[in-house]
C-alpha cells in the first residue's frame, strides 16, 4: 500500500501534469512546481477525494510544500478517523 507522501505526489503530478519522479517532498507547490491559483484549489479538492476527508480551506491552502501536505493530510486523517 502506498504511503501518504506517495499518494500526495501522485495526485500532485496528475493535477500539475508533471512526472511523479520529478516531485520532491521539499518542493513548494507554487514556487517550485508552478501551481497557479486555480490549480491550488484543484490540488486541495483532489487530496480530499483521494483520502476521503474534508479539509479546512484556509489551513489547506496555507500548506506550501509537498512534504508539509503529506504531514497535514496525515493529521486530518487521524482527526477524522480515516485509516491511511
Amino acid at each position: 500500500m502506498s504511503s501518504v507522501l506517495e499518494r500526495v505526489i501522485r495526485v500532485t503530478a496528475s493535477v500539475l501534469r508533471l512526472d511523479p519522479g520529478d516531485i520532491k517532498p521539499e518542493q513548494r507547490f507554487a514556487v517550485d512546481l508552478g501551481a497557479e491559483s486555480v490549480q491550488s484549489i484543484e490540488l486541495v479538492a483532489m487530496f480530499e477525494e483521494e483520502f476521503g476527508i474534508e479539509m479546512d480551506e484556509d489551513e489547506a491552502l496555507a500548506v506550501e510544500s509537498v512534504g508539509a501536505a503529506a504531514e497535514y493530510i496525515t493529521k486530518v486523517c487521524q482527526t477524522q478517523g480515516v485509516h491511511v
Binding site: 491559483s37 486555480v38 484549489i41 484543484e42 486541495v44 479538492a45 480530499e48 479539509m55 480551506e57 489547506a60
Partner: protein, 469 residues
C-alpha cells in the same frame, strides 16, 4: 487666520497598536449610506469679509427634494405616455415617503395629455409630491394654471444677458425686469404662487440685474399673503456653478445662496437649486446648495434632463439620508423598482451608473471577490441588499479566480453564513472559467446564464439541494 503653508505646524502622531479592527462603524453604519459629518463651520469670504456657515444645521432644517422628471427630464427624451408618468409619479410618492422628502413635482400644462396626466396623478391622492406647473413668462398662460387648479407654477425669468438681450431681445435690464414683474403680478392676481426660474444665473450680471430683480420680487411678495410669496429657483442652466469655497460670483454656489438668502431676504424654504451636469458637478453643487441655506434641491430620476442632465434624484435621496443620519421614511428599495421600470420602457441606464446600474456593486477582480467572500462590507458601499434589494455580485472573467466563482455561486444559491460553499467545492466551475480564457481564448465576461448551466452540470449535488425552484 493661518494659511495652509504656514511654518511650524509639524507635530507628532504617536502610534498605539491595535489588535482589534477599528471599522469606524459609527459613520460607516452598514445599514445606512455613510453619514456625512462636519467638525466645524464653513467659511466663505463675501465682499471681502469672512462669513461662517454651520453645515450641521442641515440636520434640523427642513431640506427637501423637488422633482422635474416630467419637465426637464422629459426634454431629454421622447415623451412619456400618460400611463408611464402616472406610474412614475406613484413610485416617486412611495420613494419619498409620508414626510414628503420628495415634496413637489412639476408638469407641463400645454397639451390635453399634459392636463390628463396631471389629473390622473392627483387622483391617486398622495399628499406628496405636490403637483405644480411650468409655464413660459406669458400672462395668458395663467389661464392654464387656473384651469388646472394648481397653487404654484414655475415661470421663466431668464437672468443672464445672453438670454435678456441675445435671446429675448429686450432693449434694457429695466424693460426686462418690468416685463417679468408684470407676469409675477398676474400670478398674484390669479391667486397662483409664482416660482421665478432665474435661468442662466451662473452666467448673469448679479449686481446689474439679479440682485435688484430679486429685491423687487421680495418687495412685491410683502404685498401678498405668505402662501403667494415668490419662490426663487436658482437655475445653473449651463452647469457653470462651482461648489468650491472661494470662487467668484456668478459661479460660486455658496455666494449665490448667501446673496439671495441673506442680502435679498429670500427665506431658505423659498429657495431652490436647479443644476445641470455639463462639467460633472451637478450632484455636488446640489448638495452644496443645501448646506449653504437653500432648502429645495430640484432633481430628476437618474439625472435625465436637458443635454447632460440634472441632479440625480436618487443621489439626492442618498445624500439626504447621509446628512440626516436617518431614513426619514424614505423607502430606498423603490430606487431599484424605478430603475427596473425605466429599463422596461427602454430608458437606457449605463451598467456602471451608481446605485442602479446593472454592475454598480459588481466586482470583477478575484482579489476583491475574495474580500467580498470574507466580509461583504470590504467591497460594498452599504448594505445594498437591505437598502436597494441588490446583493453585491461578481462578474466572472479570467481575473475573478476561485474566490469570484465561489462568491457568484453562493449568491446565486442565496447561501449565508455556515451554509456558504467553500471555493474548494467550486473547483470544477473555476477550472471551466479559466479554460474559457486560457484554452479557448475568450475575450468577454461569462454571462449569468452560462454559469448557471455550468453549476447545474458540474455541481449536481449542490444544484439538487439549493437551486431556486
Amino acid at each position: 487666520m493661518t494659511s495652509a503653508n504656514s511654518a511650524g505646524r509639524r507635530k507628532d502622531h504617536p502610534f498605539t497598536d491595535a489588535t482589534e479592527p477599528n471599522l469606524l462603524d459609527d459613520v460607516f453604519d452598514y445599514n445606512l449610506p455613510p453619514k456625512i459629518r462636519f467638525d466645524g463651520p464653513l467659511v466663505e469670504y463675501i465682499d471681502g469679509q469672512p462669513v461662517q456657515f454651520d453645515p450641521r444645521q442641515v440636520k434640523s432644517r427642513d431640506i427637501f427634494i423637488t422633482d422635474t422628471t416630467f419637465r426637464d427630464g422629459q426634454q431629454a427624451r421622447p415623451p412619456y405616455s400618460i400611463e408611464q408618468m402616472v406610474h412614475l409619479y406613484d413610485l416617486l410618492a412611495k420613494l419619498g415617503g409620508p414626510r414628503g422628502v420628495i415634496r413637489q413635482t412639476e408638469f407641463f400644462l400645454y397639451t390635453k395629455n399634459d392636463r390628463e396626466t396631471l389629473d390622473r396623478c392627483r387622483a391617486l391622492g398622495h399628499p406628496f409630491p405636490e403637483c405644480t406647473g411650468w409655464i413660459r413668462a406669458d400672462k395668458g398662460d395663467f389661464r392654464l394654471v387656473r384651469e388646472a387648479g394648481l397653487k404654484e407654477t414655475g415661470l421663466l425669468t431668464s437672468s443672464s444677458d445672453y438670454h435678456i438681450f441675445n435671446k429675448l431681445k429686450f432693449k434694457s435690464h429695466r424693460q426686462c425686469m418690468d416685463a417679468y414683474c408684470e407676469v409675477v403680478a398676474a400670478a398674484f392676481e390669479a391667486n397662483v404662487r409664482p416660482r421665478c426660474h432665474l435661468e442662466d444665473v451662473t452666467r448673469a450680471d448679479w449686481n446689474g440685474f439679479v440682485l435688484p430683480f430679486v429685491d423687487r420680487l421680495m418687495r412685491m411678495s410683502e404685498q401678498v399673503p405668505p402662501e403667494l410669496s415668490v419662490k426663487v429657483r436658482i437655475c445653473d442652466t449651463m452647469g457653470f456653478g462651482l461648489h468650491f469655497p472661494g470662487t467668484e460670483l456668478p459661479r460660486s454656489v455658496p455666494k449665490i445662496i448667501y446673496k439671495l438668502n441673506q442680502e435679498c431676504g429670500v427665506p431658505s424654504e423659498r429657495l431652490e437649486w436647479h443644476g445641470h451636469n455639463d462639467f460633472h458637478r451637478v450632484h455636488a453643487n446640489g448638495t452644496t446648495a443645501w448646506l449653504y441655506g437653500c432648502d429645495a434641491l430640484n432633481a430628476t430620476l437618474f439625472g435625465f434632463g436637458e443635454r447632460t442632465g440634472n441632479p440625480p434624484l436618487e443621489g439626492a435621496i442618498i445624500d439626504y439620508i447621509s446628512l440626516k443620519e436617518d431614513l426619514c421614511g424614505i423607502r430606498t428599495e423603490v430606487i431599484t423598482e424605478i430603475a427596473d421600470y425605466m429599463r422596461s420602457i427602454h430608458l437606457p441606464i449605463p451598467d456602471n451608473y451608481p446605485l442602479v446600474g446593472r454592475h454598480f456593486n459588481t466586482t470583477r477582480a478575484g482579489i476583491h471577490a475574495g474580500g467580498l467572500r470574507q466580509d461583504e462590507r470590504i467591497y460594498n458601499i452599504f448594505d445594498t441588499t437591505l437598502l436597494l434589494n441588490r446583493p453585491p455580485r461578481v462578474n466572472l472573467t479570467d481575473k475573478s479566480g476561485a474566490d469570484g466563482v465561489a462568491h457568484w455561486i453562493n449568491e446565486f444559491f442565496g447561501l449565508k453564513g455556515d451554509e456558504r460553499i467553500n471555493k474548494i467545492k467550486c473547483h470544477k466551475v473555476a477550472r471551466w472559467v479559466m479554460d474559457q480564457y486560457e484554452v479557448h481564448g475568450r475575450e468577454t465576461s461569462i454571462s449569468d446564464e452560462e454559469l448557471e448551466a455550468k453549476v447545474r452540470e458540474l455541481m449536481p449535488e449542490y444544484w439538487e439541494k439549493y437551486a431556486p425552484r
